[in-house]
């Protein structure tokens, strides 16, 4: 099992899982609803995420769901100058960009991005080639073949876990063949994308099987619909469910957690690692003085 990951030379240990903070330069993403759309607000969000314990920031320029069309130029404009600024402020921070377009991938890698989070599973097959060209990291996702920015409609799988393992490992092997550094490749079951809630729950139930592939597993669970549907709660009440899912997936060996609530996620992961013995407690004075 891999104990470190490396993105353009920036190495991170994964014995205690990593937190990937979500920073959206979008006016309409489902959870933050434009809170960090403005350049300065986004920069402040990165600063806060880093001090809350983020190991990676994941910058997005287009909301995942359907909505206003954002063309390549607009997406580049939202992400590339921002990546450059984040790089200037945080020379050692791992910067990820959430995109499915190779033109955007090239623009952000040229400005300092380390990792391309291809949430739409290779919908643009040239994106992974850009990752290889820049020796950047790459996230291999599973959407069941969904078109970018579409919702699932009566999707079905003979075995969703097997489908995810087959598709993400196929992509990971291809990425490595194309020249993406092997220690910079992550696989992501991609909850909610091309899946109903029961599919997403099954993927958490079988996290150990994803981990057993040997590729580091990224879990993007934060405040998603499957959490809301499982608990019967609205968007504002999904944090507890997200953290419960995070704890179990961390226990089963997932390596990276993409999160809105960085501080709480960091605490959950540190606590789980304390329980599993992968992290020393911060201090142990009780009964020892």
């Amino acid at each position: 099992m891999r104990t470190t990951v490396r993105f353009r030379g920036r190495e991170l240990g994964v014995r205690c899982p990593l937190v990937m903070a979500i920073v959206n330069r979008t006016p309409d993403s489902f959870y933050d609803r434009g809170r960090t759309f403005e350049f300065d607000a986004a920069l402040a969000a990165v600063d806060e995420a880093v001090s809350d314990g983020a190991d990676i920031v994941d910058i997005g320029g287009v909301k995942a769901g359907p909505g206003t069309v954002v063309d390549v130029d607009e997406e580049v404009e939202r992400t590339a100058p921002f990546v450059a600024e984040v790089r200037r402020h945080f020379p050692d921070l791992v910067i990820s960009v959430d995109t499915w377009r190779h033109e955007v991938g090239r623009a952000v890698c040229a400005r300092g991005a380390d990792l391309l989070n291809d949430t739409w599973a290779g919908a643009d097959p040239k994106l992974v080639e850009v990752a290889a060209e820049f020796r950047a990291g790459y996230v291999c996702s599973h959407t069941g073949g969904a078109v970018p920015r579409t919702r699932p409609h009566r999707v079905r799988y003979e075995n969703v876990v097997r489908s995810v393992i087959r598709e993400t490992t196929r992509q990971a092997e291809r990425a490595a063949e194309l020249g993406v550094p092997e220690d910079g490749i992550l696989i992501d079951p991609t909850h909610d994308f091309g899946k109903n809630t029961r599919h997403s729950l099954a993927l958490l139930r079988h996290t150990d099987e994803l981990v057993a592939t040997g590729w580091p597993v990224l879990m993007a669970l934060s405040n998603k619909d499957f959490v809301g549907e499982t608990l019967g709660t609205e968007l504002s009440e999904r944090v507890t469910g997200t953290l419960a899912a995070t704890a179990l997936a961390a226990r089963d060996g997932a390596a990276v957690f993409r999160a809105h609530e960085v501080r709480q996620t960091r605490q959950v992961l540190d606590m789980v690692a304390g329980i599993t013995g992968d992290r020393e407690p911060a201090s142990t004075m009780r009964g020892l003085v």
């Binding site: 699932p152 009566r154 099954a202």
Partner: protein, 234 residues
């Protein structure tokens, strides 16, 4: 000859256990489905053909089972050897134990089947027995609102309204004229099966009743019942 037809929706959430806490949303529609199923049997058919959309056109026979496992729900209806697609799985669930009451045949029609081929299939199905009842599974557009699975397309609601009127009026010509390309773009699952119905009822002046038409989750659902005058030779 066709003696009755029923038109039904087929979302997995029609099964209450799938919808869970929100199952009551569709209680009214389930009651209307039950009414439409009862009318099929009241017509005294000697063959019930259950028709739903799928990847391909096929006759699955009567030794069937429908399962929601591919949708993540461990529920199976019937215990036959042939596994049904989703549309017919919901049909099998709606029938429950009533498949034993009359000879029943499950058939699928391919999503991309041309209208002329649908009409011809319908004509053939109507001729399979002296008294045929047709259970037609088919849904309207999944692009009705911004919250719909297929997001908003302004053409969606007008198309669904048009279908609703056709089902209410027993208007076979209107169903036969539905444009496959528009239906595909608007994620209308019912187009091929409604056109098979149109073929089966061709020249018969059905008396239609629209029992339900709603879209609580952004997908058009219809429940309708078509009666036919007794054949002249009875």
């Amino acid at each position: 000859m066709l003696v009755a037809a029923g038109i039904f929706p087929h979302p997995p959430v029609l099964v209450p256990e799938v919808a869970g806490r929100r199952s009551a949303d569709l209680d009214g529609m389930r009651t209307n489905c039950e009414r439409a199923v009862t009318r099929l049997f009241d017509a005294g058919p000697d063959l019930l053909v259950v028709l739903g959309g799928d990847e391909r056109t096929a006759c699955h026979g009567s030794d069937v089972r429908g399962t929601l496992l591919p949708h993540g729900v461990d529920m199976t209806f019937g215990d036959g050897g042939v596994r049904l697609p989703l549309s017919l799985t919901i049909g099998r669930w709606l029938l429950g134990s009533r498949t034993e009451l009359v000879s029943t045949e499950f058939r699928s029609v391919g999503w991309g089947t041309a209208p002329a081929d649908c009409l011809e299939l319908g004509e053939r199905l109507a001729g399979l027995a002296p008294r045929v009842a047709l259970m037609v599974l088919g849904d309207g557009s999944a692009c009705r609102t911004e919250r719909s699975p297929g997001f908003l397309d302004p053409d969606a609601v007008p198309l669904d309204d048009h279908v609703a009127e056709a089902l209410r009026g027993g208007d076979t010509a209107a169903l036969a004229a539905l444009d496959p390309k528009a239906a595909e773009r608007l994620l209308v699952a019912g187009r091929p099966t409604w056109q098979v119905l149109a073929g089966a009822a061709e020249g018969r002046s059905p008396e239609g009743e629209l029992l339900d038409y709603q879209a609580p989750y952004g997908v058009g659902y219809f429940v309708a019942s078509w009666r036919f005058d007794a054949p002249a030779d009875r």
